[in-house]
Symmetry: D2
Subunit: 131 residues, 4 copies
């Protein structure tokens, strides 16, 4: 229940402090999350087509060191918990093997109208096995 992705910091992601704007870390978390779901056999694109959505209920990030334009970063993602329709994930951002940020996000499975919806059975069994 873990995955990792790599991103190279885009110029667009910097701000006038000369470092990455903090809000952009959540975009990287999302890329890692999408990868984790894909690795688990649930491409998010397909999930949405089948009417499963995973909006963010909560997210947070601790910024230990800045990241800069051109940096090669690695984002590790782990499943923290999966209870009923709620999924919690943890993220670690590293630069040359040094951790520069840590984050979390919590999501709920909902349908197209935002109502709680049980995740696909296969997803449940896969996660429960590993919980």
């Amino acid at each position: 229940m873990k995955s990792a992705i790599e991103v190279k910091v885009r110029y667009q992601e910097t701000d006038q402090m000369g470092v990455v704007y903090h809000g952009n870390y959540f975009t990287w978390f999302e890329i890692a999350r999408v990868q984790l779901l894909e690795d688990l056999g649930f491409p998010y694109r397909e999930m949405e087509k089948k009417g499963y959505f995973l909006p963010v209920l909560h997210c947070s990030c601790d910024f230990l060191k800045p990241s800069r334009f051109g940096d090669d970063l690695r984002i590790d993602v782990n499943l923290l918990s999966f209870i009923k329709i709620r999924l919690s994930l943890m993220y670690v951002v590293s630069k040359e093997n040094e951790i520069i940020a840590r984050g979390k996000s919590t999501h709920a499975f909902v349908d197209r109208n935002g109502k709680a919806r049980k995740p696909p059975p296969y997803f449940q069994s896969k996660c429960n096995r590993l919980n």
Copy 2:
């Protein structure tokens, strides 16, 4: 067939050159465009609900002077042309009465699936009258 909006430059919109990242001007153009449509009696939010969409076919911008965090900008928008399903608009960005950028965009009326769709009759008559 003209409108204007005001924006205050957000920190998030700057990049490490200390000025606004160029791509963000297109977001401001969009705000001005939405205002123009609303002033014409076509709130974009309502249009989408009725199945009218206005994707961007072309956009461009000339950057004369930079803009910076905290700047108070004015974006003027004008209808350039409206032919069949195509709408062309022109934008002027000013800072303290000095023009700092000029842009254009072209749009087509399409339906939910991206197929060409005649604009609402009232829109046609309103624009044709002023063409």
Copy 3:
């Protein structure tokens, strides 16, 4: 030690779920924070010129209800605490008087090179008085 701002949701801020992308709330928090600093007599633009920077050490947000394109939102910001060089703020996002999100951020005063720096004395006295 409180301020409030208003934002109208931009089309650019939405994602394909039809609601505002979660990361964008942090941009609104920043606008509210800048306003609070300005109301306290510390325009952030001036602070940076004098070599004071306020990078984000931590941020979080709880999303209670989605927000959508065209929504008129109000963001209230409060000073939670100010200890030595650390500033903590709290944010409440409302839509038609209903709270739709709550957030927090923590910042440190640093110099141009990212080293801890005591805030301007006037800032200290102003905040301490109200702590």
Copy 4:
């Protein structure tokens, strides 16, 4: 004088029309441009450290087909012209070998204060040779 990069469309890059927000193409162009400069032996990160900046004077894009979350895109970039301090580039965005967008950008070499500055001699000779 050509390079190419690949990007996978991020969820954050979509809007409520279910496709990529048009302004984001300029971010991809920038990634391709940075790659071209690096391939030519001028990492943009180093250039800025040496006081060379390349702000955008003009940019445009024609959108032929939409791109969507998860799409694997290729962005080809070509040097169109290099005259004195001005650089013009052309971009082609493809999806599974089909061209979905074409763009252009023009830049000027400037110094830290935004004043025109001759590019590094080695850059001049390299580009002139290929013009």
